[in-house]
Symmetry: D2
């Protein structure tokens, strides 16, 4: 199967799989007290700074929830976009952990200090949750990215108010590749306090990490991870994935490729009169509106998601393994379906 | 490194790793909607009966906590041995999920209806948690096993009182191999309501499963798994591990081998005057007391855990990859250390 | 002090206080196993039907949270207005209990099936919380009421979708008095499944009740109350308050009086050119916009709350003990302040 | 009804009820921002020191759970006796709040550093909850008291290990009265970090307080109280109860009376050959074993609790309103029943 449903429909990058096989030698201490895990922690520090402390967990839900728990008391709120994965797609995991989200609509998935200002209220009022964390997704759920300056502005705003800035970095590599900057340039260099760093969507088999940058967040985090059911026994097999991703340029290579495939797709559908691209294509996602009949027929062969049932807007994700041929064949099929339904004038 | 610390110090069985590599082809629907996951669910049904519903999760903590949550309201209690992993080694994960454990001491890690009877009290008293689940570990944390009859007796006792029987089966394969019975003979055939089925300690890279047998437990379990941060996106790589373990005799082969190595070890140390084996060796664990100096020196080369600091009792676990040579070399070293410290008369 | 800040600034109705004193005789079984508590439960049944089961708790936060917990699994969502007390003023208590709220804006605090429809989505999608309860406030936080028909329409809509209808009845008496109907006419007669019934704002010293109407909600509720820290030991002193409120017409008398005082206030300020009443005055609340300087000066003598800092909208609540003289003096002061600041033409 | 079941079967002390009636004048700011609440906070400071911060809550369950939550992270454990109310009679409320208790048996309900030592283990082990609080009940659930020295020894032990000392002071007044010392002598003067201070069992209608002594515990406690559903709106009526109890000697007068009645009862039953007093009678509880038939017949007229079904041990509590006549009549009835069943030789 090939498709544009999600970057987690893709498999494991061959370099990662090979490294996992190489780690399968003899016994190793469990729960992270092994050489591969030490190397992975070093690799995170190489990217995020000497003060960064990384804790590997199983999935993105956990990476987000554990980071936010570490940044808040139960009565403190997380401010995020209403399109945030946290809010929309975690089946209430943050709330199950006892945390309230305060959300706001955005046109493009991006928060700004101006948009946040109306949520930074009722400080000191015991009847209201107290704003404590701003959480942004980088790249955002709508495929847009925050520049280093935009991130710094959010960090400054948050810190002035005694709040933290959290980055849901399920696709942080895509953002850094898109902007051609380092991972630090989008996080540790500009005041981010904690990152939920994604690996799975960028070619790992399954590993995510909470990267704590603000020093006061680390206390007891190892217990939090265990108690929250996120401590792997055979940790070496998670750690080696990150070590492979981060110790060479694999993270950037894979992400840049996915971004390029999204750009190729956006360019190609931009030629089709009946397709409207609805968001800036800045990372590896393309959002578009196309005729419902075309969309329905197309997804039978190429799985993808309808993002908005009301408008018919769909989301196409490119992955590390999306090939130019995949993109071209997908657009060909789309064009054929449009022609079949709309006649020759339906193509520009 | 080689050692006897834990069966989770071992790596991945080559057949499992090969199957994982074979699953790395093209795209697959995420979150369990893929062919490998369907096959794994079928494999569980083949072992546990047509009514069994298996939900794969990341680790044993989750497998236990999610099963127990499904069986209880927050005010309902889980009865278990005070040696239960649940109670002693999960960093309070069951309590973090809002559940109270009522524990009792046992000589050998095994519960019986007689031992449980004093905990089955205060039913209907609103000031007391209400007993709702009996949880046993099979094989137990002390390396002992429950026969099918002993399990049936517990199930009958529990059901008569309106309670469920849960099996923490992190090492269920070892128990079934030891007793030379099927997995069903220890679970679905004798009234067990839910199993936390372990794969990681039996040669998988990292996958556990909640196997729900009582039909009323399934409602909404998929949401519980997601909300509890235990839903893998690239599920195929977890599912294929179980499919490999369960669709051939690999589960029994690996477990029986580990059991045999524990037996070999127990037999060998039984010859040593200064070593006392403290528990029946029924599965893949050996518990023993040996001179502290010997123990300290031995563990530098061969990692293992002190089980009881007060008595100096240690635990030695055999794994799927423990070799006869490992056992023999370990016992040789032990004997040499005993001789060095105690003189010739120290060996029988 | 006199004011219009909240109906919970008022004291205890003399009939209630007298009944509490009368209950202070000898010993009584604790935790609700006393005659006053039995009478209170009967009083609730007399109003809400023979199948109604009432559990008295300490405050409105608990009354709402416990009712909603009884109606949901942790992954099930509560749909409510974004003005809901639940969402805005409980310091995250529902989320601390592990429940997610899905909110929507309303012009007047009232939900309708049409407004709710966009939230009743993603049923069966394991990544999304599952809609399970519609929660309305009666009277609403904006002082509006739901007619029996409007309530029935919501109940029908909810039930068709397998959902429950919950009424936050902190001011249910005010609504029933306003519509001149029975408490049942707004609840049990029209399909409501659970009511959080308020007493404190209607002249009690401090007592609220969860009234469960749907029979399947009762299981284990007594344990839930205890575990949630809401079981009073000297329950007779809470129960006798409700018995006093409900066994005569005191509930309606007090509520109708408060409503009448709000109407008197609304009528009087309606004469003032510079005051705009912003919501229909249907129960005991008046929402208005008046010149900021007037508002600031007025609240120094007569406490009340600014509802919306941005627009300057304020809320005036009338209570069971608000007198016509209070209203008249308040309006006189308001008029004097307007004149002082705006000159004679500022009064119509 | 008169009886010896619990000090919470008693009513409200007349001085307290009168003060509550006096507080029922006009409007008062809600949620604790009223003069009575300020006075109550001052009264707590007068007893517990200028640094003491008191937060009034509804009941003892909450007073204990909120204090312990403030002292712990979710992965930190509370060490207590297995007879602790916390463990045995709160229907799992501490666990519902996510905290694990580690319990140990005691002969008399009292902890000592020596008894605690075996629980202060596994510090730094991520698989184990981390010991963080020692919680003692003063007077204990078995009617014994801790001297100032015994309390200081526990505080020193706890602080050396980086732990807190918590006092469940549901009956702290009884202990202070019994030892003829101040409340501070048992708490703030000897290193106690937080007290759950009981009023209800000592003649209040229903009010308890978390008294925070260690300064680092206060941060955000007001939000914790609200979120945990323990903030009263008409707070004046709770505050005035404590103000009345603490601003005169009423707290000591009532407690000393209850203690004296327990002593009178113990002395009288000490004369009965068939009654064995099983615990030191140091406060207001008497534990005894008497013939089962006598016990069963006696409790029909005088309610009390069987403490231990296995041994037939019963508990008799004296309250602020227990009269000498109550005690004498109770013992007379007991003697008559013993005679009726055992003949003249059954009385010494």
């Amino acid at each position: 199967m090939r498709g544009f449903a999600s970057d987690n429909y893709a498999g494991v990058h061959p370099e990662v799989l090979a490294a996992m096989a190489n780690a399968n030698v003899g016994h190793a201490r469990a729960y992270g007290d092994d050489p591969w895990s030490a190397d992975a922690r070093d690799a995170f520090r190489a990217h995020f700074g000497a003060g960064a402390e990384a804790f590997i967990v199983f999935n993105g839900t956990a990476s987000n929830v554990l980071a936010l728990e570490a940044m808040t008391q139960p009565w403190e709120a997380v401010l995020c976009a209403d399109s945030a994965h946290l809010h929309a797609d975690e089946c209430g995991a943050p709330e199950r952990a006892g945390r309230k989200l305060l959300t706001l609509p955005t046109p493009d998935g991006r928060l700004t200090p101006e948009r946040l200002e109306p949520l930074a209220i009722r400080v000191g009022d015991q009847h209201a949750v107290q704003p404590r964390v701003v959480s942004i997704a980088q790249s955002s759920e709508l495929g847009t990215v925050y520049s280093p300056d935009a991130t710094a502005a959010l960090a400054d705003w948050a810190h002035e108010k005694g709040m933290y800035l959290h980055v849901d970095g399920a696709r942080l590599c895509n953002a850094a590749a898109a902007l051609d900057v380092s991972l630090a340039a989008l996080t540790s260099d500009v005041g981010v306090d904690a990152v939920s760093f994604g690996g799975t969507k960028n070619g790992l088999m399954g590993a995510e990490a909470v990267v704590l940058l603000a020093p006061d967040l680390r206390t007891g985090f190892q217990y939090r991870r265990k108690q929250s059911m996120q401590l792997a026994s055979k940790m070496r097999f998670l750690s080696v994935q990150f070590e492979t991703l981060l110790s060479t340029d694999l993270w950037r290579r894979s992400a840049a490729h996915a971004n390029a495939m999204a750009a190729r797709l956006a360019a190609a559908v931009g030629e089709l009169r009946q397709v409207t691209v609805t968001q800036p294509v800045e990372a590896n996602a393309v959002f578009a509106i196309l005729p419902r009949g075309v969309s329905d027929a197309l997804t039978e062969r190429w799985p993808f998601y309808v993002w908005n049932e009301a408008t018919g807007e769909v989301r196409w994700m490119a992955a590390w393994d999306t090939s130019p041929d995949d993109v071209d064949a997908f657009v060909d099929d789309m064009q054929r379906l449009i022609l079949a339904k709309g006649g020759p004038q339906s193509i520009r």
